[in-house]
Symmetry: C2
């Protein structure tokens, strides 16, 4: 039994989709979220810069003495997780392994689609994980650099002509390959789920990496006797590196709960 908080971070708002799942599955846990809104998006940056930013994110969350840290960011999970794990003693969980396991379970045809940021697709991390779990799986991967800016700007509703056009362009080569499973390889993408589901059709299963990661983390913590013993709801705290005024409103929409006055701004470059 361990009442310390779970730390969660992402480049911006996307990781809140993982927070929502963590809070749903483990309502008694304290959660501390950091969104690096002063430097979002990460996905088009170099490996070196992503690692540098991720080190600071983990260092900040470590000040809360968390029992675990969740990298709720596809870009960091695919590009910097191994480095972070060698540098920190706290258990650090990324989104790749649980998502690959879910995709390996879901696919019947062995044809799996993958969308992510430039850095995620460049890393080949999802492909390696899937190949280890289900050798011979064919992965049709596509970098989608405009999806994070769209979601961060609140443009993800079905009927949004710009979002519809961008999604159709990115997904059409994947749909042509008749995959039966599509991995949403970035925690920003679940917001686009209704729109993506309509485009891909009902025969394609969407794997939400944040959701899978939350389930995986809950299982790991339970297995290691690290769950909280509380019987009351845990506290949720939110930190950002820049608040341009609309974070709280957008975040509330992402979470399905009010984050109102709870958002604090910090200087991430001092960590």
């Amino acid at each position: 039994m361990d009442n310390r908080p779970i730390g969660v971070f992402d480049s911006g708002l996307g990781g809140l989709t993982a927070v929502r799942e963590l809070a749903r599955i483990m309502p008694e846990e304290d959660l501390v979220y950091f969104g690096d809104t002063g430097r979002v998006p990460y996905g088009g940056r170099s490996r070196e810069t992503i690692i540098r930013y991720a080190r600071q994110d983990v260092a900040f969350l470590s000040t809360f003495r968390p029992k675990a840290i969740v990298v709720a960011c596809g870009t960091v999970s695919t590009t910097a997780l191994d480095v972070l794990k060698t540098e920190w003693a706290v258990p650090i969980f990324g989104v790749v392994e649980p998502a690959a396991r879910a995709a390996a379970r879901c696919t019947k045809s062995g044809r799996v689609g993958l969308i992510g940021t430039k850095a995620t697709i460049r890393s080949g991390a999802y492909e390696r994980a899937l190949d280890a779990l289900r050798p011979g799986t064919r992965v049709v991967a596509r970098a989608c650099p405009l999806l994070v800016p769209l979601v961060e700007n609140g443009r993800y509703q079905p009927g949004d002509i710009v979002a519809e056009t961008v999604v159709a362009e990115y997904l059409s080569p994947i749909r042509e390959e008749t995959v039966d499973t599509l991995m949403l390889g970035c925690t920003h993408y679940p917001l686009l789920k209704p729109l993506i589901a309509r485009y891909m059709g009902p025969e394609v299963t969407l794997v939400d990496v944040g959701e899978q990661c939350a389930k995986w983390v809950a299982g790991q913590l339970s297995g290691q006797g690290l769950r909280s013993g509380r019987t009351v709801p845990g506290k949720h705290r939110f930190f950002v590196s820049d608040d341009s005024g609309d974070f709280a409103a957008l975040a509330s929409a992402f979470l399905g709960e009010d984050v109102g006055g709870e958002v604090k701004e910090i200087d991430i470059t001092v960590y």
Copy 2:
């Protein structure tokens, strides 16, 4: 006569459209460019963060002992220029004043459109400058947060369905107001000029803020006897805060000249 370089900076690639104009008008000048590619885009961030980033950008360029610094960034020009000017002795030029002068000259109807980042539109800086120059001018302003990500990803050609859709959505309310002049209030936007021109029609004059700024700076330097006395072409040096591999290729396209091996990566956070 002054052979010191001119420093130029932007959040990313956009400022290169101003560099192109500066090099065309003043080929004998040395230019030092800094693109903050590790933290691009600036336009959706808070005023405080934009000022913090801009201070570091100026501090870095100051290490070259420039005779002038050009803020080739609409967001910084509208949000941080006054602060920077009070803090540095070197002459600092932004894009607002020269662009507003051009728009005031161009418009016959007194109905002027303005597009820019969220921070630029929030600042009201173009409106204030225009009102001082041509009282009663009606400015129809629109924030276009997705245009910088589009341009930074090389998506600006006519025929690009995503770029066409985004531009049409942003510009339709401005076109409906029958403006005769449209200020492209961000140095990223000139890349979209052919596409924007086609959408707005031939009766609307487009004001390129980088181009106007370059002309203004040339005039100011000449007036103060600060032009270079060289008869050979000046050197152009390029610095970025992150090089994800495609900067040189994209930058060459923006500039119409090869920047090949000349791009150096620096850590902007130490300035």
